[in-house]
């Protein structure tokens, strides 16, 4: 294995009974990069991360984390990793700081408390709050603090901005960029394409337990899917728009209003739409599942 790889998996297999969660996952994450792990629900993102930390055992294939076997050297691997679970559950009998101190003790007290306090301040988080009183978003912040506090070489984050308001999401992305600048590797899963676009150096797309491809985040943008509700001032024919490449007419409400779906580059569509007497345009981003479905339907059709 190359020394500049933080994570390598080769043919990783994981079954839950009859369900095949990972079907030969091949993954390479370079040291010092931010790697976004994208995939619809049930694609195998959480399973991959939990295999890397030896929380679950693969049925086949192999994995190396920071050059170590996560099963045989699990303690050493976990000492150098920070982990944020996708379904974060915290023991509620502590205050936030009490819980961090307990988890710190499990790390052998190798935590930079000045750094933790600085991060807490940036996240506008009060460490004296009892865990049981924390909102979902604040629990997520606490989860991030425990993952980051010991300045790990590798961060494994399962949906790191889940439950946070847009301002805090922005703050977290900033922190992760800073962590990367300090030399850490960030491996994160996300459902939000724009988040991966803005944060990741590379994005891996997982589907049905296999890595389908690794792309530059800018490519995600060109493949993204949008829905637009177009309202016109007077009667128009929407068929001409639907004939543009990547454009689909989903619903015609009446002769002035329609719902269209645009895949990929928006420019031809915008140029064509400019010739219409548009009174209003509402856009919406379909779910990641829908984006993937559209993308892979096209790929399979080729």
């Amino acid at each position: 294995m190359s020394a500049d790889l933080a994570i390598v998996t080769e043919g990783l297999l994981k079954n839950y009974g009859a369900v095949r969660a990972l079907r030969g996952l091949d993954l390479e994450v370079r040291r010092g990069e931010i790697y976004g792990f994208l995939g619809p629900n049930g694609a195998g993102k959480t399973t991959t991360i939990r295999c890397l930390l030896d929380l679950i055992r693969p049925n086949g294939g192999r994995a190396l984390v920071l050059g170590m076997d996560p099963q045989r050297q699990s303690v050493q691997v976990r000492a150098r990793c920070g982990y944020l679970p996708g379904e974060l559950r915290l023991e509620e009998r502590f205050t936030a700081e009490g819980l961090l101190r307990h988890l710190t003790a499990l790390r052998g007290r190798k935590v930079d408390w000045a750094y933790v306090r600085q991060l807490a301040q940036r996240l506008d988080f009060d460490l004296t709050t009892p865990v049981r009183s924390l909102s979902k978003g604040n629990k997520q912040k606490l989860g991030l603090l425990q993952a980051l506090g010991h300045r790990p070489e590798l961060l494994l984050l399962d949906e790191p901005t889940s439950g946070l308001d847009p301002l805090m999401q922005h703050q977290v992305l900033d922190i992760l960029r800073q962590v990367r600048e300090q030399g850490a590797t960030v491996f994160f899963s996300s459902h939000i394409i724009s988040e991966v676009e803005s944060l990741a150096d590379r994005a891996g797309i997982i589907r049905n337990g296999r890595l389908v491809e690794v792309i530059a985040p800018s490519e995600l943008f060109s493949r993204s899917l949008r829905r637009l509700r177009v309202r016109c001032k007077r009667q128009v024919a929407f068929d001409a728009l639907a004939r543009l490449p990547g454009v689909q007419l989903l619903t015609v409400y009446d002769d002035r209003q329609a719902l269209l779906q645009v895949e990929g580059d928006m420019e031809p569509f915008i140029q064509a739409l400019a010739r219409y007497p548009v009174s209003d345009v509402e856009t919406e981003r379909p779910s990641l599942e829908e984006v993937f479905m559209a993308y892979y339907r096209n790929e399979e059709g080729k």
């Binding site: 369900v19 399973t47 929380l55 976990r78 679970p85 379904e87 559950r89 052998g108 337990g209």
Partner: protein, 281 residues
């Protein structure tokens, strides 16, 4: 250091149970010890009364004509039924040693820290042992204080013996329940099966005292090796070793299963759920 952290965390979490069970049983012990002399004063009358009871009933509750000896009295009034009372707590403690955290989802984060599964198991097992020992020591203290100035004539060290026997039995059931929690799909199921085995063992063993046909089966049950209050006269090392040995064997089997286990996420609690949903890919 990390072992101490795991041990103290688990033991502290059960602080309420230690105080609750320990103080409640200590008060009961204090009362029973103070009551002994009153009972002894009315011995003649009580012996007449007891003579009218069916012998089988007395045998079932572990009492005999010896109920006025220290060992007989302690057995009848306390140690004969304690395996059921505090045994249920031991079953809950053992079944929840690791799986309750797994089911509420907090084990995932704990095991993402640099501690081995063996260390976590060892710290929790030591914690469970300490919790049971602390409850029994508090109870013992109640008995010792209560016995002061009575005609029972039992030294603190002698008084400790039946508690040692009870501890060995409780340890066995806690370890058995831990093993079951590693085998069965949920903590509730492990606790139910553990408690069922405890009750069956208790009743079959008790009935074996009065039913010849059941007697051969008795020796296969843990309660057969429990000395109850009669341990006052001296502990049977072999019986103690059997209880502790089987307990250790169950704990080790549970540990082996824990080493190979996929840590479930919170909410994944049964075979049915895992089959239907396939865990959380």
């Amino acid at each position: 250091m990390k072992l101490a952290t795991v041990f103290l965390h688990f033991a502290r979490r059960s602080w309420g149970a230690i105080v609750g069970w320990g103080v409640m049983l200590a008060v009961l012990g204090l009362y029973l010890m103070r009551f002994y002399d009153t009972l002894a004063e009315q011995r003649a009358m009580l012996e007449q009364l007891v003579a009218q009871y069916p012998p089988a009933l007395m045998a079932f509750f572990g009492g005999t004509a010896e109920m006025f000896t220290a060992g007989g009295y302690l057995s009848l009034e306390f140690f004969s039924y304690m395996p059921i009372v505090i045994g249920v707590y031991a079953v809950l403690l053992g079944s929840g040693m690791l799986v309750s955290d797994e089911e509420n989802g907090t084990l995932d984060l704990v095991l993402a820290h640099p501690i081995s599964r063996t260390l976590l198991f060892a710290g929790r097992l030591l914690g469970a042992v300490a919790i049971l020992a602390a409850i029994l020591l508090l109870t013992w203290a109640g008995f010792v204080i209560g016995a002061q100035g009575t005609t029972l004539g039992v030294t603190p060290l002698q008084m400790l013996r039946p508690f040692v026997a009870l501890f060995a039995l409780l340890f066995l059931f806690a370890a058995l329940s831990f093993f079951l929690s590693m085998m069965l799909p949920s903590r509730n199921m492990a606790a139910t099966v553990g408690a069922l085995l405890l009750f069956v063992s208790y009743f079959v063993n008790s009935l074996a005292q009065i039913d010849e046909k059941l007697r051969p089966w008795g020796k296969y049950l843990p309660l057969h090796y429990y000395q109850s209050g009669h341990a006052l006269e001296g502990l049977k090392g072999e019986w103690l070793a059997i209880l502790l040995g089987v307990g250790v064997a169950f704990a080790l089997l549970g540990w082996l299963l824990f080493l190979r286990r996929d840590i479930r996420l919170g909410g994944e609690g049964s075979w049915k759920l895992r089959k239907a949903k396939g865990g959380k890919p």
